[in-house]
Symmetry: C2
Subunit: 238 residues, 2 copies
DNA sequence: TCATGTTCTGGTCATCATGACTGTAAGCTG
DNA sequence: CAGCTTACAGTCATGATGACCAGAACATGA
């Protein structure tokens, strides 16, 4: 496909797809924080180390589909948000052959995360305090964290962590957990309502020992905010 | 490298690196506009069509180095700014084998662009009105254009189109050409000076028939503005 | 029943960034 | 030196944002 047409030779360069998955879970203090699932490597190289879910790219499978499939196979998760993060291809990032990894990042709902495939080879860890991972996966997660946090500022993907309907307090809790700083409830409300992307459901969430908050839904009809809509999508075919 | 270790089988999936290059040149109205160099395909498939500069990824070469090398070989250009754009891997984007392309985008100085390798197989075209390109390259350029324009808003890479020193008017002309709208000179000055990234050289640019403007230099010392500094760099080893 | 605690929710105020605009400074040209 | 052009400095209105305040509305427990 490139204009040069030397034969690529033997397949010494291999193509893999991996995914950094984020979900909100209570940390040791009880407050919601970012967690990410890891899988234990059962083969060499780096056998026994924890790594990102992933796999080799099948020739007939789309990149995004491969990301969704491998994370479903290894963790049982179906992402609500899935987007390409970056392609890592340093020559020495894997000790054996040259491996180029197209890495995606995904957001899953909290209740979904609770249904993760259990087992000794899958484990959730706090995204900010990772153990030593295989290959360059620590660096990859750090970059994914940075991207998540900057994207939360200018775009609205916080609702990807939540269910279909949510209160403003729940949405704010998500943003606070991701950005790791408290946000004034009144100002947050004003900004969110001014964005015009929240739709009142008309219902309220009763049961708590305080004034029942309104339930909102996210307006997914407007795609103009993401000019790269053809490249990023929500709710991929899981 | 992924946790699954099925053999990747035959190398039916091939890995390529391509680059979208932008430079400022006067368009038919005489105003500076974005241009991009294309190369003509000399082999099948899509022989004769114009395409982005690129080539297959050698097993021992870094992705970014491969991008810099292929664009130098085909166009003779050395980019001042080079960053990974996106990885395109749709199964059907190439008629023959499966091809996954890691695409970079580059900015080159105007005077550098004038030194492009001449020949019937290299051609500069206005980035906004492209002819029909090979494969999915039209879509790729459109995405690169969007990324360039959004990145110019929040970051300051306009100086990548210019030389070492420049006047505020020159810098403003770059931004106006990229964003395709006039910018108030006084407001632009205020915003740029407030950013704190411009350093006065102490010199002025005389010779014009008006008050000589100050010459500025860009402050490259501060890397905190780009938290992903490890992934994006300026002035790659050309 | 009713006070109490809690959060929801609507509002004010100061600050800052930004767009529109005006006026003066300082060079070159004829 | 008159006149032209752009550099540069400053004002004003507007809108977004952070800090803060106060009433509304519910569950709970006295």
């Amino acid at each position: 496909m490139p204009h040069q047409t030397e034969a690529p030779g033997d397949a010494v360069t291999r193509l893999a797809v991996s995914t950094v998955i984020f979900a909100l879970r209570p940390d040791h203090t009880g407050r919601p924080a970012l967690w990410t699932p890891l899988v234990r490597r059962t083969r060499e190289p780096q056998r026994g180390l924890w790594a990102l879910p992933g796999g080799w790219l099948p020739p007939a499978e789309e990149l995004e589909a491969a990301a969704a499939r491998t994370l479903r196979l290894t963790t049982g998760l179906a992402p609500k948000y899935l987007e390409q993060l970056y392609t890592f291809g340093e020559v020495d990032r894997s000790p054996d052959a040259r491996v180029v990894s197209v890495v995606y990042w995904a957001l899953v709902q909290s209740d979904e995360a609770a249904r993760t495939t259990a087992g000794p080879n899958v484990r959730w860890v706090p995204a900010d305090t990772l153990p030593g991972l295989a290959f360059d996966h620590n660096r990859i997660v750090e970059y994914a964290l940075w991207r998540l946090r900057t994207k939360l500022e200018y775009a609205q993907i916080a609702h990807a962590f939540l269910g279909e309907t949510f209160t403003l307090a729940e949405l704010r809790e998500v943003v606070e957990a991701v950005l790791q700083r408290p946000i004034d409830p009144a100002n947050f409300r004003r900004a969110m309502l001014a964005s015009g992307r929240l739709i009142e459901t008309g219902e309220r969430l009763a049961g708590a020992r305080h004034r029942p908050p309104k339930l909102y839904r996210y307006d997914t009809s407007d795609l103009t905010a993401e000019p790269s809509a053809s490249l990023t999508r929500e709710r991929p075919a899981s």
